[in-house]
């Protein structure tokens, strides 16, 4: 009940902000315009013919799906990386602590409201994606898989942003750190790939290691997972083609051959990268959520030391450090009255 009260309030506040509407408008306009320019360019370069229509659809889908993924990663931290420390900064956090909200309700309610914003963008872009089916070349199941990758990515970035906002007192710092980690998360495999390509171990070398096990660094990556949802044989890779992002994806994973990625073994099971990514990301999200729940209430360290169902004795206790209180209950304002 307390959880729903918090969720209702959060959704009310978020939906009343002008910013929310503007983000949706700019997001859809940006994606729509880019898609339109891409179609125009394809028309100018290749022209439409009966066999090329599905290629147009595929290329448009590739472009929009990759763009959507990057935009989600870019937008989600803005919604979730300030949810806890933002309350502290607004001086409303103590009032939440004084209520009957449990740590989990507090964290999950705020997270869900933050994610709703990001999920709203995914939902708002559905009409754009429906255009793809007009051209053909993409099966609904592939779009659903891509949708799953989006949702999982949103949840993962959202829970990580929330953990940062629980740990760090300043909203600007937690947002910056979330962005930085996201950038490294996407960028590190790319850098490694480029290094491997330069060493002649990738697809460019002409010896694609199709059966080799992709490393965790490559599998736990949203771009790889999204690429894996694409039609295995329908993709005609051309570095000079109209979609330059393919070049990055080809370099991203040395196992990439244009006919699907290698499988990933997890606990003895052979999984497609998109499925392995989903499992890994949801596990990591659960860990981030659990950590945030533990850290959000005051005296986290002391609660860890307390016996189950009890509390440490008060008498003879060592004076606690200011940092514990300031970080968890006072939002960094530890000065006494």
């Amino acid at each position: 009940m307390t959880f729903f009260a918090l969720l209702t309030k959060e959704l009310r506040l978020r939906m009343r902000r002008e910013r929310t509407i503007w983000i949706v408008i700019v997001y859809i306009l940006f994606m729509g315009l880019l898609g339109w320019f891409a179609l125009n360019r394809y028309n100018t370069t290749n022209g439409y013919n009966s066999s090329g229509l599905s290629n147009v659809g595929l290329n448009l889908y590739y472009l929009l799906s990759q763009l959507q993924l990057l935009l989600i990663i870019f937008v989600t931290p803005a919604f979730t990386a300030t949810v806890i420390n933002g309350e502290k900064e607004r001086q409303t956090f103590d009032l939440l602590l004084c209520s009957r909200l449990s740590g989990f309700s507090l964290v999950f309610g705020k997270l869900l409201a933050g994610l709703m914003n990001a999920l709203l963008l995914i939902a708002a872009s559905a009409p754009l994606f429906s255009l793809i089916f007009f051209f053909g070349g993409i099966a609904p199941m592939q779009v659903l898989r891509a949708l799953l990758v989006y949702v999982v990515t949103t949840v993962l970035v959202g829970t990580f942003g929330m953990l940062c906002s629980t740990l760090l007192p300043r909203p600007s710092v937690s947002t910056a750190i979330t962005y930085m980690v996201c950038l490294l998360w996407i960028g590190l495999p790319l850098i490694f790939s480029l290094i491997m390509l330069s060493m002649g171990q990738g697809v460019v070398s002409g010896k694609p290691p199709v059966t080799s096990q992709p490393g965790l660094l490559f599998v736990w990556n949203p771009v790889t997972a999204l690429t894996d949802t694409y039609p295995p044989a329908g993709f005609t890779y051309s570095p000079a083609g109209f979609n330059p992002l393919f070049l990055l994806m080809a370099g991203l994973n040395p196992t990439y051959t244009g006919t699907g990625l290698g499988t990933f073994s997890l606990l003895g099971m052979k999984l497609s990268p998109w499925l392995a990514y989903t499992i890994l990301s949801l596990t990591a999200s659960a860990v981030f959520l659990a950590l945030s729940t533990w850290l959000v209430k005051p005296n986290a360290t002391r609660r860890l030391q307390a016996p189950i169902g009890g509390h440490p004795p008060l008498r003879g206790r060592q004076p606690e450090k200011e940092s514990t209180d300031s970080a968890t209950s006072e939002g960094g304002t530890a000065a006494p009255a």
Binding site: M1, T2, F4, A5, L6, T8, K9, R12, L13, R16, R17, R90, Q91, T92, D94, L95, L96, L97, C98, S99, R100, L101, P298, N299, R302, G310, H311, L314, R315, G316, R317, P319, E320, K321, E322, D325, S329, E330, A334, A335, P336, A337
Partner: protein, 326 residues
């Protein structure tokens, strides 16, 4: 878990025992003990940095003390934070509002997170808005409310779960005189409803008029506590009386008479028809003094101890002398 001390008595709402709170190198509270009676309005007085807010935050179970215990009836704060938070309504020294919510939505939200069933919320919100006289502002966004209205809304928020104890941190700061009077009346109404109210404030006249008891805190230590009169008497010495006469004709007689009476010192003729004096006797002696003055047919038109607020201010200034405001 063994209970080391008896819980509070029937007349005591809160028992604070040897509480200390340390922030790195600063002792915010040191060996602080106090008993707060049920149904009292208890004022916490002290300069900035005295430890008032720290004490209130400990009472609200928002921070744990470094040592000592705080009992609410049979519940100890650090062991039963959830129980305490049901008993306590806390109003911090900042508004803590969501500007994009209306007054009613704001209260509904807090009613929700205090576990009040959905069906009961509308009634509670309406009652609270009426109590704090904000019914006409029910659908107004919080950001459009005046400071005084926001303060009253915050007070309503602290009452949303009908707590037994109210902790008000600087409730009157920044309010205009009218809003202060309204707040004072509201606090008295709440006392009439049987609530125990603890107020920290710098505005001493407000506290003197509002509180039944006070505790003076400095440097994290309790200097004095008790009812307002006894504390000011204990710390400030003799009480000061102001006597006003109809005219100045009999002033010399009055001055001579008062100068020779027991328990009276520092007799002075401050204005034309006014005499100020320090009186060291008890209430019975004070009554006898008035009877004596009237029996000698002195044209006395006003016989009043100097206001509690003025006395309290003097006491406060004397005990905090040398401490710098932070």
């Amino acid at each position: 878990m063994q209970k080391t001390e008896p819980a509070t008595t029937a007349a005591t709402a809160i028992k604070i025992q040897n509480v200390s709170k340390r922030y790195r190198t600063v002792n915010a509270l040191s060996d602080f003990s106090l008993e707060i009676g049920r149904g009292t309005i208890y004022g916490l007085i002290g300069p900035n940095g005295a430890g008032k807010t720290t004490l209130l935050r400990i009472l609200a179970a928002l921070i744990a003390p470094s040592g000592g215990e705080v009992w609410f009836e049979d519940a100890e704060v650090s062991k039963s934070a959830a129980v305490i938070q049901r008993k306590v309504g806390y109003m911090p020294d900042f508004f803590g509002v969501y500007p994009d919510l209306t007054s009613a939505e704001y209260l509904e939200f807090y009613a929700g997170i205090h576990g009040i069933p959905y069906k009961k919320r509308a009634r509670i919100v309406a009652d609270l808005l009426e109590l704090v006289e904000l019914t006409p502002k029910r659908d107004a966004f919080v950001e459009t409310l005046s400071r005084g209205m926001k303060q009253r809304l915050c007070l309503a928020r602290a009452l949303v779960h009908d707590p037994e104890v109210l902790l008000l941190d600087e409730p009157a700061s920044g309010l205009d005189p009218r809003a202060r009077v309204e707040l004072r009346e509201l606090v008295r109404t709440l006392q009439g409803m049987g609530k125990t109210i603890i107020i920290s404030s710098h505005i001493l006249p407000e506290l003197a008029e509002m509180c039944t008891d006070i505790a003076i805190i400095q440097g994290g230590r309790l200097i004095a506590s008790g009812d307002v009169e006894s504390v000011t008497h204990r710390l400030g010495g003799d009480r000061q009386l102001e006597l006003r006469f109809l005219d100045t004709v009999q002033m010399p007689t009055a001055l001579e008479l008062l100068g020779g009476m027991p328990d009276i010192s520092n007799v002075s003729n401050s204005e034309g028809n006014t005499i100020l004096l320090d009186f060291g006797g008890d209430d019975q002696a004070l009554n006898q003094l008035l009877v004596d003055l009237i029996s000698r047919k002195l044209p006395i038109i006003s016989f009043a101890p100097r206001s509690g607020s003025g006395r309290l201010e003097e006491v406060f200034m004397s005990i905090t002398e040398g401490s710098t405001a932070t």
